[in-house]
């Protein structure tokens, strides 16, 4: 009996890690572009898709999987820079315009992938095998490797934006572009670099999920969009704090309810929690944390 409880607990833990890793990785690129640049990128799912296609095409051309993943990230980064220069740079701080333009972009990308590569690419098997415990198994790649990669990404971003000169300049540009320019910061370059980082992270998500997504078809972008939006809205505008807190909370809710009552209930529970949280914390979790910090500073 006790052993069965331990096995059930492990099953729940692995499902949480699986869900947490997915939420962090699909959210983080969107969070950077939205949180730091005020652009709602409705083509975020298609950016991830470009990473998946880049990886899958390189892999099927004979590249080893890690190298194919690098190719996926590079392709998406270049794609992001081109999109920023041609479209997005005209849309900073124009929220609704950016939504319409990027939604149009998402349709164009999906259709172009269909025209160029056909209705599907051959899939890539999930590597790394599984861990078995009691009656259950869990995929090592999905439940251990991807959550670990998600934490590394968040740690890396934290260091990038708080411990490097680029991070200081980027945050200054986002806070007050006029002053930053007056201080000699090339804000145009900061914008394109930040957007490129967001794109690279979307590409990384695509690369990491290429062997875990199953069917690789041109319409898969929408798969990623809903959950990433829910997580960004719940998390708020701070990239690291928002993404980490929202993914932990939503991942936990999803895992517990899916495990107990089924996939449909898990999804509904996650969306209900998001709605309730938005009613209570309109600026998301990181907005609440920021307010709390400011209140504490004021009290002091």
């Amino acid at each position: 009996m006790a052993a069965a409880t331990v096995y059930d607990g492990l099953s729940l833990l692995f499902q949480f890690l699986n869900s947490f890793g997915f939420l962090v990785l699909v959210t983080v690129g969107l969070a950077i572009v939205f949180g730091m640049m005020g652009v709602i990128n409705l083509a975020h799912g298609e950016f991830i898709l470009v990473g998946i296609y880049g990886t899958a095409l390189a892999y099927h051309a004979g590249a080893p999987l890690p190298l194919a993943m690098v190719a996926g990230v590079v392709v998406t980064t270049v794609f992001g820079i081109v999109v920023e220069r041609l479209i997005v740079r005209h849309l900073y701080d124009r929220l609704l315009d950016s939504m319409v333009a990027t939604w149009g972009l998402s349709l164009v990308v999906a259709q172009l992938l269909l025209i160029v590569f056909g209705s599907s690419l051959d899939s890539i098997s999930t590597p790394m095998g599984n861990v078995a415990y009691g009656p259950y198994t869990s995929s090592v790649y999905r439940s251990v490797f991807l959550p670990a990669a998600a934490l590394v990404v968040l740690g890396g971003l934290f260091l990038l934006f708080t411990r490097t000169e680029f991070g200081v300049k980027a945050r200054a540009t986002i806070e007050d572009p006029e002053t930053a320019r007056a201080m000699g910061v090339d804000t145009d370059r900061m914008y394109v670099t930040t957007f490129a980082i967001g794109s690279a992270l979307a590409g990384l998500t695509g690369a990491l999920y290429a062997p875990a997504i199953g069917a690789i078809t041109p319409d898969r972008g929408s798969t990623f969009l809903v959950e990433s939006f829910v997580a960004v809205v719940v998390g708020g505008s701070s990239v690291v704090v928002g993404t980490l807190s929202a993914s932990t909370l939503l991942g936990l809710v999803n895992a517990v309810f899916s495990w107990q009552l089924g996939t449909f209930v898990g999804l509904m529970a996650m969306l209900l929690v998001a709605i309730v949280l938005l009613r209570l914390l309109p600026n998301g979790i990181s907005g609440y944390v920021e307010d709390w910090r400011e209140r504490r500073r004021a009290d002091q």
Binding site: D122, T137, S139, P218, W259, T263, L267
Partner: protein, 416 residues
């Protein structure tokens, strides 16, 4: 029963095509006989819809190459509905009112069929729905020529129970097709004293099956019955492989439509058994002639799926009915079809049941081994008995006798 189509279809299938020379247009006028083809070439169902569109065009082009129907070249109207049900509704009205099509082939999913059915009914449009489906549609002008759940699941579920044991776990897509297919597995289980040890209906946009897999492992069934649908759900097979969950799977939806055994690396589809009427791997002289003709016309096609075969033979079925009627008038063509018809389809010699507008299909169980090679077993003819013998208190549905626009469900007859 007549045997009008056998010879001509055989000849057409084997003859190859030269179809590009046939002179059909995709955007031509509505002068002369016209068919509407609404099949998805983009969007969520493009993977399945594209080959349906290709096979329908192929059949029309072959017929035109062979002199047309009643001496007239058949025109084609075939805009892309993009897997969007609202667009389907608009285009269906456009096909009927603007192009005045003489027959319509449209739609992959049951949700699409139900979205356009009221329009079809309003205008008494002759409509061929060719996807395998949950069954039960008894409708004056609709010919659902794909195998029904009763036929597909009736072929594969007893086969699986015989091979592996009687404890079944059901997973299905959470919409009308999946729910009703799940009901049918329950009916078959009741009839045979099998045990349903678990049942779950999964939203169409779900891609993560880790909790589903753990619940299945917890119940330890002898086999899984899977009626998952669409590209998102296909991920189940890869995750099953990653989890080494070797429990065999019976299905009505996988392989014959989305050719997952080709698109997925072995051994994701190991021991998946599909109840099918047709797969391109079926072989035999007639089937191979059809496959050759299809790829000659569409060299870049991914796969010739079961539904495409249904489109193909039903175009010839319609051609023969028109020639028998001596007119394109839809009411008269339907009257001819309701006399019943023997069809020499690539899937085998099959039969249209005039009373119910459904087909007696030659069903078989397709098995994917660890290399994803396909073999076939359990060949049998399965009649559309649900509509003909079970509904209406055993009276059945006879559209020759009574006008109907109904969809019967298993719950109308069984306690599910």
């Amino acid at each position: 029963m007549r045997n009008a189509s056998r010879r001509s279809l055989l000849a057409a299938g084997a003859s190859g095509i030269g179809a590009a020379l046939a002179g059909c247009t995709g955007s031509g006028s509505s002068a002369g006989p016209t068919v509407g083809i609404l099949e998805d070439r983009s969007g969520n169902f493009q993977l399945n819809g594209t080959s349906k569109w290709q096979a329908t065009r192929l059949a029309i082009e072959e017929i035109n190459e062979d002199g047309g129907i009643l001496g007239e070249e058949v025109q084609i109207e075939d805009p892309d509905p993009q897997s969007d049900n609202e667009r389907y509704q608009e285009l269906t009205e456009q096909m009927i009112l603007e192009h005045e099509v003489d027959a319509l082939w449209a739609g992959y999913s049951s949700a699409t069929r139900e979205a356009i059915r009221p329009i079809i009914n309003d205008y008494d449009q002759l409509y061929f729905y060719t996807t395998q489906y949950e069954g039960g549609v008894c409708d004056d002008t609709i010919f659902p020529v794909g195998a029904t759940a009763r036929q597909q699941l009736g072929a594969v579920t007893p086969y699986m129970a015989e091979e592996y044991g009687e404890d079944i776990y059901i997973i299905a897509a959470d919409y009308n097709f999946g729910q009703l297919s799940g009901d049918w597995v329950n009916v078959i289980a009741q009839e045979n004293d099998y045990n349903i040890v678990g049942e779950e209906y999964i939203p169409l946009n779900e891609t993560d099956f880790s909790s589903v897999i753990n619940r299945i492992q917890s119940e330890d069934p002898d086999f899984i019955m899977s009626m998952l649908v669409g590209a998102n759900h296909e991920n189940f097979y890869d995750q099953r492989d990653a989890n080494d969950m070797l429990i065999p799977i019976g299905t009505s939806t996988t392989m014959a439509q989305g050719h997952e055994h080709i698109r997925y690396e072995p051994d994701a589809l190991t021991d998946v058994y599909a109840g099918v009427s047709y797969m391109e791997e079926l072989g035999d002289e007639r089937g191979e002639g059809f496959v050759d003709a299809f790829y000659e016309r569409w060299p870049d096609a991914n796969y010739l799926n079961q539904e495409a075969q249904n489109n193909y033979f039903s175009v010839y079925m319609w051609r023969d009915a028109v020639e028998e009627a001596g007119t394109f008038d839809q009411e008269e063509v339907i009257s001819v079809l309701e006399e019943g018809m023997d069809i020499a389809a690539p899937s085998g010699d099959i039969e249209l049941d005039g009373a119910t507008h459904h087909m007696t299909h030659k069903m078989r169980v397709a098995h994917a081994d660890e290399n994803h090679d396909i073999s076939f077993d359990g060949e049998q003819f399965i009649e559309p008995t649900f509509l003909r013998e079970e509904v209406e208190g055993g009276e059945g549905c006879d559209l020759r006798e009574e006008s109907k626009q109904t969809q019967y469900e298993p719950g109308d007859v069984y306690d599910v």
